[in-house]
Amino acid sequence: MSETATPRRTLIKGAKILGGRPQDVLVENGTIAEIGSGLPAAGATVIEADGRILLPGLVDLHTHLREPGREDSETVLTGTRAAAAGGYTAVHAMANTFPVADTAGVVEQVWRLGRESGYCDVQPIGAVTVGLGGKQLAELGAMHDSAAGVTVFSDDGKCVDDAVIMRRALEYVKAFDGVVAQHAQEPRLTEGAQMNEGTVSAELGLTGWPAVAEESIIARDILLAAHVGSRLHICHLSTAGSVELVRWAKSKGWRVTAEVTPHHLLLTDELVRSYDPVYKVNPPLRTETDVLALREALADGTIDIVATDHAPHPHEDKDCEWGAAAMGMIGLETALSVVQHTMVDTGLMDWAKVADRMAYAPAAIGRLAGHGRPVAVGEPANLTLVDPAYRSLVDPAGFVSRSRNTPYKGRELPGRVTHTFLRGRATVTDGNLT
């Protein structure tokens, strides 16, 4: 993909902005120049939207790009290509790489690789503690001051379980309006844990992962954040109890935000009965009750955003017995379809709310400039065009990601991203990467 091959003017005709009435959108020099009816097509590449939905480019607050260190599962390039294919124009790269993104050097490397990829902006997340070890704060300020401009910090994959370290991190990042994104998992309660603790784990003889292991950390962190007046973001909420805690925190006016993954909006621990490790994920798939609570919370705003937790793994790490398998599933290329299926087609949310939960709000939490902006004149042309009427069976062979560990193989999902624009340049046209 090169800059010169991209025309400077693009006219998107008949697009339903956030699901509204069809309008034309003229993009010029990376910016939305004009919105209206019957806009002149002269000199522009014309895209017949034909009533498809136009959304702001999606923003993911939780992506594992695996580079540096695990390029066998994903690279910044393959991951950002997958992101573009899924309608994303910006992703936040998690810090659990090898080496860990706990220094200015590593976050700048990831940031630079993202810029070179050209498919999607990459905003690195910095580790909270050195080596994700949970003992000593990483140089949070240096990472913020680096070219990468880190504002989100997370030891994701590991929980910052030491209450003092968590308190200090929450306080420290206030100096630059940062936020700590906590992977809430009480380590002692989840030693050897393999799946949600409940009816299914009792039958399958797999070590249980109790909801309380997530909820107890969330409760503690909410109180810590309230005490020190800091921003707290909670990664991948998975239980109905966690929803209640966040609802309570918000009712107090405390600055707590939360995310849910697409897979926790759709899948339950019943799937683990197959012992197929494609369903092994952290936090684990929960019950139908939890799924319904998460959907309701996303719709009413208790949960602020959808984040993919895109976690690529090579084939051999899933082609084995459950206990030996890696945790995680890929999600960038299916996220919008799962959200349409679980939230829009069910009537729980309209497309305007989708834009909020998948673009505006994640960009706002990450303090990410230039993304998550309204589809309006003068705004950067980070845009996603979606065909909601499209239906297909998920075929991993067609994925752009280097990995194939999707839990949706063979499942019918609605919707397709036909075009993605990054500052006016098409990264996806007619469903294909440019």
Partner: protein, 322 residues
């Protein structure tokens, strides 16, 4: 019957009774001077053990050999094979060797299920114990032992309807308990599990059994009491305070045995922790069936291999004199 035996829930009531009846026939062969049938001649049974269990392995080996099958013992424990993908690679090797049945013991719950459903091998899979999931042939030999002891003559064709079976010990981590609860329920028994609450899984309320924390209350109403092995190391994870306290509250001693009905039996899958879940007095009493269970294990495993591999013709009609 299904092609694999992974879980006791794979067995219908009729399947289970058929296995027990077939095991009776197999048991009679063991009393003959020549303990061999030609039934599985030319078939290959692989014992694939990722976890040490000499008792279970030799039981399956004896069962397969008495049916004239070729037996290959493949012990993956302690070799370079310990990481995940090895199960697949090992399976592909066994497939290449033409295994008709793979008897698998594995430290991970679900490994036999994975082996049977992943397309790695074509033969039957028999679960010889997986993690903390199931051990269906142990449950079958337990049911067989109960039926023989309690129904005596004329047991063939009968189930365990109305029998009150109590399973005591580390229910949470026990594959023997999981398989027994399902199988004994399928056979019509009323099952009660007894343990300290720490050793009962969350979600047990959906099991087809009753739960009690009070051994003394359950003993007088039990036709069979199955004592599970309790690992001493559980104490270190605070499942119970001390061995002494465990033995006092949940161990079976002579006094407690005396409160069981006269006909009731004491069972143990072995190996026993004498002084922990069972005292020597009980273990060595004629009411304890532990040794019989070992003998019955071979008959039951013969029946399982025969029914999975041999087809439908009667088992014991053709006697061999080689």
């Amino acid at each position: 019957m299904k092609r694999h035996l992974i879980s006791a829930t794979d067995l219908s009531h009729d399947d289970a009774v058929l296995i027990l009846d077939t095991a009776e026939e197999m048991g009679r062969i063991a009393d003959r001077p020549i303990k061999k049938l030609p039934t599985l001649r030319g078939r290959t049974v692989v014992n694939l053990f990722f976890e040490d269990s000499t008792r279970t392995r030799i039981s399956f080996e004896a069962a397969a050999k008495r049916l004239s099958a070729d037996v290959i013992n493949f012990s993956a424990k302690g070799s370079s094979v310990s990481k995940g993908e090895s199960l697949k690679d090992t399976a592909l090797t066994l497939q290449a060797m033409g295994a008709d049945a793979v008897v698998i013991r594995h430290h991970d719950s679900g490994a036999p299920h994975r082996l049977a459903t992943s397309g790695w091998i074509g033969g039957s899979v028999v679960n010889a114990g997986d993690g903390t999931h199931e051990h269906p042939t142990q449950a079958l030999l337990d049911a067989y032992t109960i039926r023989r002891r309690l129904a005596a003559a004329g047991a063939a064709g009968t189930d365990l309807a109305g029998r009150r079976i109590t399973i005591v010990g580390d229910i949470l981590h026990s594959r023997v308990a999981r398989s027994n609860v399902h199988l004994l329920h399928t056979l019509g028994a009323e099952v009660t599990v007894v343990a300290p609450p720490t050793l009962v899984p969350i979600g047990v309320e959906h099991w087809p059994c009753a739960v009690s924390y009070d051994l003394d209350a359950v003993l007088p109403k039990s036709d069979a009491v199955m004592m599970l092995r309790v690992q001493r190391e559980r104490m270190n994870a605070a499942y119970f305070p001390t061995e002494r306290e465990y033995a006092r509250r949940y161990g079976l001693n002579g006094d407690r045995m005396a409160r069981m009905p006269g006909h009731a039996i004491v069972m143990h899958p072995g190996p026993m922790n004498r002084g922990m879940e069972i005292t020597a007095e009980v273990a060595d009493s004629p009411r304890c069936t532990a040794v019989e269970q070992v003998t019955n294990g071979v008959s039951v495993r013969m029946a399982v291999l025969y029914l999975l591999l041999g087809g439908a013709e009667p088992a014991a009609t053709k006697e061999t004199h080689e």
